[in-house]
Symmetry: D3
Subunit: 334 residues, 6 copies
């Protein structure tokens, strides 16, 4: 009973090197990612025992995706294969006032064919102690929603902790279901809420502001509506421009409000997956530390992720703790 | 009335450098191609006036595809945009006894949404003297078949020459129509047949062998069934292995059988698009030379294409003629 | 009558990747550029209809230069060829207090052979509504000066608007003519002056300071001397170091002085061609907006250019407008 | 009891791209390999369940080596860490008459510290059915010899099949032991001998020639001296030059001599690890096929390896079987 | 008598491109360096006549290392060869709060075999006017200590100026000698001390703080103990994070304390070797300028080094003087 | 008196990677070369003491060219600088029947400004025992011819051996002199003739065929006309195509005709500079071996050069001798 399980699409990311636009390039770097993959790999890099559940293409692209997860020690035994291609996204990395830009090719991907009967949740979660989901998966396709729900029902039955990152992205939700209805449904099976005012307002239909006062009120409101939820964690990004961000976090754990100081990221290397690094830090942290320390760990992990290329966070626990212990001047380690 | 028109999907090709497999790489080279695109760009490189008709994605990938065609002087004014992603294929380049391997991501691409009403054939072919089609497009989707047929009908009306390369590929034809029926239908609007025994047997339901005798008989049979067809050109590849090929061609032009000698390609650089280079050479040649010279030109063009990376043939007329004039020892030009 | 015409040398830029010096490298990235090329391509990227007039080498380098312009939709029909090589420049990109460094190989290039009889201005400007010139071209060679003057005379005759960016660069002007005399001559045919105090002082032989008061006085003085000029636009760069700049602009349009706020470019990616991006933004803007909005558009375009590698500005109108609408925090677009 | 166990050094390979010499380069491609690693990864790529035992550096280089094995599904649970650096080798890839050249940095590597007490063979081989060793490991250091011997003793006790590839390399064996003595000692625990006349002569102190007759006699002699050995397999390479090889194999399995035909490798991509690919093919084959088919499978695997860059064989069983079924013309797979 | 002599290990540096971690890469950039090499090459780039004494591997790696020094005009005539491999280090370049990380493979390198009898100091220093040493060399191995000492004794005899950069690095000093004892011994032969409070405290066993007052007292104390030392120069780095540093310097030259202002390095490209650039600037400066100007030159050289990739400083005297003359805004040079 | 002196232009070579055309690329590999540079560097790689005389650009390109020669141990002390740019050539590497293609940018290069007074031949050849020239230099510009002639006169005076490779290239000789006249003039100062029937026919105005009989007659004829010439060496290339060549050599040394067997180069990596490798091998050989052995050495060196990328031959004497000793199967060296 010590495995952390993630479920979601494995995406291939294709991006020109550096800050080039596609039209300038003839080479693309590729990585694999996807929000739940990023969370799983990051936890594995922290030393966690992680299994990722997905459906990938039955070709050399899917083979490579599976090898990528294995490389980071993530179990791929519950991944199924489909004759449809792996989802892909193209990324142009911006700078200063130029935003990064993403173009997706995922709506008919191998994962879009996922159906409840393709995942043996009982077997896949035999040793699980934690299940993490995000709002991307139920937003992709009906099968994603229904398959996830099977997992959540089983998790509830077996007393497995469930973390929810309901990220609302308007470009999804094209298959017929309403985001609000689905997220409300799934929150009933969840214990840890990773999200901010935008997500709470979307789910509750409210208009809370970004102030700490409203955050506390909104969190209480959310917990009241969804009593399985016991803690709310929110990561706050202040973007001076594409290349210079600040990150801090705040929480309401049912009895206490706490807030961290800002980490200053003066030279952003890659912001993709930084929210996932926060979620991963939190999931790992909550198994090792108290709530506040977990949040601090998560925000340091999130800040560190901005310094790695690609979607995933390579930081180890020792590296995150180093940041928390104040070693932020980047002194060379030999 | 001097434009050559091609119609078909623009595909992005993604391949690891050299002979690497995807699992070994973290960089991919990309090119744009697609069988009819390859024909069009090659003819433009010969100095022809080419327009390509297609439907590409409405994002920076589609922008880049259009810019790619413009770079080679191909008119893109008749290309429409769709909210679906551009078709993609992954290629691992083999060597010696290891075959190259392709994985497609095209079945729900921007082109797969093509419908007859999206192409204004009247306007697009205002200045056309030639229209080229292949069996890939009607094999992809019903809209591809129907849109192409509109163009062929108009071509027949206006007396525009039509070349057909009915390449039969069993991995296509998933949308409900039968390859044989569709190809038979479209051949009625075609004048130049570019294909061999396999294609003729598929279309006529016959069992001709590869011998020259059978080729002549089969060609006569084909012309009898489809009287609009006046000439048959066949490219013959002898593959010693992935890295060493020979190319020759033969023809039946209604009254005469001719055959070229083999070009020996001892070090294949890239075989993708070599059939398209043959078709392009033929289409260009038939406007400048007699039938036999056109076939020689086409087979030299095809042979030369094996020496270029990517899908398209960069050879100029002077370069192809140089080969035909016997300069095949690769003497350095300064 | 809706084409924008640019005239000048097409240069190949060769630079080691990143911040490497040539002595550290064995690979060079190449782009094509040249100040008037950069202006033309940027306007084409804004959706303008652009024709570039030049003379390039009659070899595969010149072929590639022409293909490069075509890629961005710029008409190359008026480009002539010469047996001399294309002009080249080598660039080492600096950082922080290290300046970037350029070494030219252009003085005997294909463009240096340009002669008035090589350009059929009447034909080339048949549909033109705007002609843009810079001080580089008349500074390169006598043929550049004389050929340009033919175009300017015709523009004046036909009522085509002329913008002048008289950039004075002391490394040029080696062929016998005096910069001041030539620029004075050419300004008589110009309507929009894009330049600052340095250029005005050089032309008028004055000593105005950089203050806004002096800018207004100098502009009035310039307009008095050259009555065809009706508006003066000046881009002001504040360089903290090679990697951190600020950009703002000011104008005197004959009756009103206006000034924009600074754009802060905290992480300069590539500063080459940023002045050209300003000119392009202005030329495009003056056809769509009022003077102040045009200047704002131009300075946002200029600021954005600092985030693209290479000489040209890839920004679209929507992207520039996004910046003007305050979206400067680089929020990811999906 | 179904795991195949390999034991030996993990080496990092560093080589300039293509055929460059180090003095021409400033980039190096890196792979991980080592003869037993290559065997293990290849078997894993065939679908085998493989565990590799080694000692790697306790730094980010060692972390990356472990991740590399994991990527290919090889179990790394029995790998220990040392404070010494990972072994490295530099490779310059030759062509035609220029030989490839290797320079090692391994004699004080992390693996050179291996000692019997660092490997818990009982635990590591709990599920093993096969153990493979080569003459490299006992040639590196006394600890390598002694640790390997512990494993072999246990294998004999438990009835685990042992394959031996006693590759004699004169550049090793610097630590005091005599190659002949050690190899003789270890052969007593081995069942399948993978090697040729050179190795047999080295071990027996004989002078057999390369003829088939002598091969049979030598094999019988070897089996007589080391009765645990039951089968002898020999791979024969005919090198026309660095870029063109032929591969065939022969065997004496105690009662029958068989020989395969040559595979012609007209364009060698990378010959490193081709012997290991033969061993891997044989080990896999002997569990699935009869002796002759196993040898055929091994020689096809070996031939295919010449088409992959890097040290390891990426071929799947289906790909090797394709070659054996005569598909050697490299026909494109879609 | 005008040569500057450096003595120490030549190391190969291997690092993934940009900010990648090794686990993300399959290409490594390589440079050669080593603290004394960096000093020597930088002085040669300033126009100095430099000879470097070392022992490199007798393989193509060592050949390339020697060619690298020759490229920058450093004399390699006194370099010997060993059968052991060249020392190597792997570097992962950090960003913002992520530190850069180094892993060494040098303890059994070719240089580790250096012995006094391998260097003919009399011949090697025949034309020397200056000898520079650092604390790395005597910390590596006993032979390094003893060989260096022979050189220092000769330098003292011949009146050659000796600069000492006693950099104390705790990861070294594994071979039996005590850092403090050895450094104390070697300082008796040295004239210019390049180091700060940490080094002085380590050598004297004191606890001075970083204040200017303590620096002066500590310097006086050091000079009193080691009367051959006449001047102390200290470089002070303020690291905001891995990507943003400030550099200034201070000195006590026996009668005067001076301090420079900070250079702000807002975008660090590569911090490796910046201390060596300071030492090189100082050694060059002390032969051309007064003490304060030398220190200014050294700190500008150090600041500039942060803008070059790799270990060495490419700046020329003119480029450093440009910075000192206030040209720090990175204005493009043409 | 033991230095070998070469005189000629240093060219920068720019070529897309692999077999790409410029239009496909955005990266260029660069090398430095030039026919006499190639000869000099190759001799230096054989261990010869070489000085190269030239005139390079006074910018960072010229700095890098000088560093390149230094890297290979060639003395650059007699190289002068000019304000004109370094000569450049672009190369597209062909394959099979596609020829490689070169485009030059050298006619107004730094070397084109060479004048007799810029070279102090007396000083530069103080220690010379050999001077090598080719027909490229006098074909470039009058200054090249006149400066070379000064050197040849001095060589004759001092009894320095002169080798002549009169390579006739019709693309040169644009400055007014007639190739035949100039080459005849310069041959009067030469002793070793490296060239074939084409060159002899050009110089003598004869029509000898390629037969051995004619070669002997032609050589005798040449020696009769130019009695300073004592030996004639001819390299014969048989090109099957761009990728497959054969190389042999023949000689007439005044009393004996000899011929070598063919070296088969089945996979040409880079043919640029192979003639220079032959000349370098010959010049080195004639100082160590008899005439026939020298010619064998030269042809093996020439063959080996086809396996190296770039213009120069990296082979050592040991590597060439290995080929001569029959080790042409490319057996891996460890």
């Amino acid at each position: 009973m010590d495995q952390i399980v993630t479920f979601g699409e494995v995406l291939m990311r294709l991006s020109p090197e550096g800050n080039k636009k596609l039209i300038q390039a003839n080479l693309l770097e590729f990585y694999f990612g996807g929000t739940e993959v990023n969370v799983g790999v990051s936890i594995s890099n922290f030393g966690g025992n992680v299994k990722h559940i997905s459906c990938v293409s039955n070709d050399f692209v899917g083979d490579t995706a599976i090898a990528y997860l294995q490389k980071f020690g993530v179990s791929t035994s519950a991944i199924t294969r489909s004759n449809r291609p792996l989802g892909v996204y193209f990324l142009e990395v911006g700078a200063v006032m130029r935003p990064s830009s993403i173009s997706y090719n995922r709506s008919h991907s191998s994962f879009s064919e996922i159906q409840p009967e393709m995942v043996n949740w009982e077997k896949a979660m035999k040793k699980a102690k934690w299940l993490h989901w995000t709002g991307i998966t139920p937003g992709l396709c009906k099968g994603g929603y229904e398959t996830l729900k099977q997992g959540l029902i089983l998790a509830k039955d077996k007393g497995i902790t469930v973390s929810a990152d309901p990220t609302y992205r308007s470009g999804l939700w094209k298959y017929g279901e309403n985001a609000k209805d689905v997220l409300q449904d799934l929150l009933n099976y969840s214990n840890i809420f990773i999200g901010g005012i935008n997500e709470i307002n979307e789910i509750l239909g409210t208009n809370y502001t970004y102030s700490n006062e409203d955050f506390i009120t909104a969190s209480k409101h959310l917990i009241k509506e969804y009593p399985s939820i016991v803690k709310v964690f929110d990561k706050i990004r202040t973007a001076i421009n594409s290349s210079w961000h600040k990150i801090r976090a705040r929480m309401w754990n049912g009895f206490e409000f706490r807030e961290t100081v800002d980490f200053e990221i003066t030279h952003v290397i890659d912001r993709i997956g930084t929210g996932d690094a926060f979620a991963a830090g939190l999931i790992y942290g909550l198994q090792e530390f108290d709530d506040y320390k977990s949040m601090e760990f998560a925000s340091a992990a999130c800040a560190l992720k901005h310094t790695y290329e690609g979607d995933i966070n390579y930081a180890t626990v020792a590296e995150v703790m180093g940041i928390l212990n104040g070693n932020i001047s980047g002194r060379l380690t030999r």
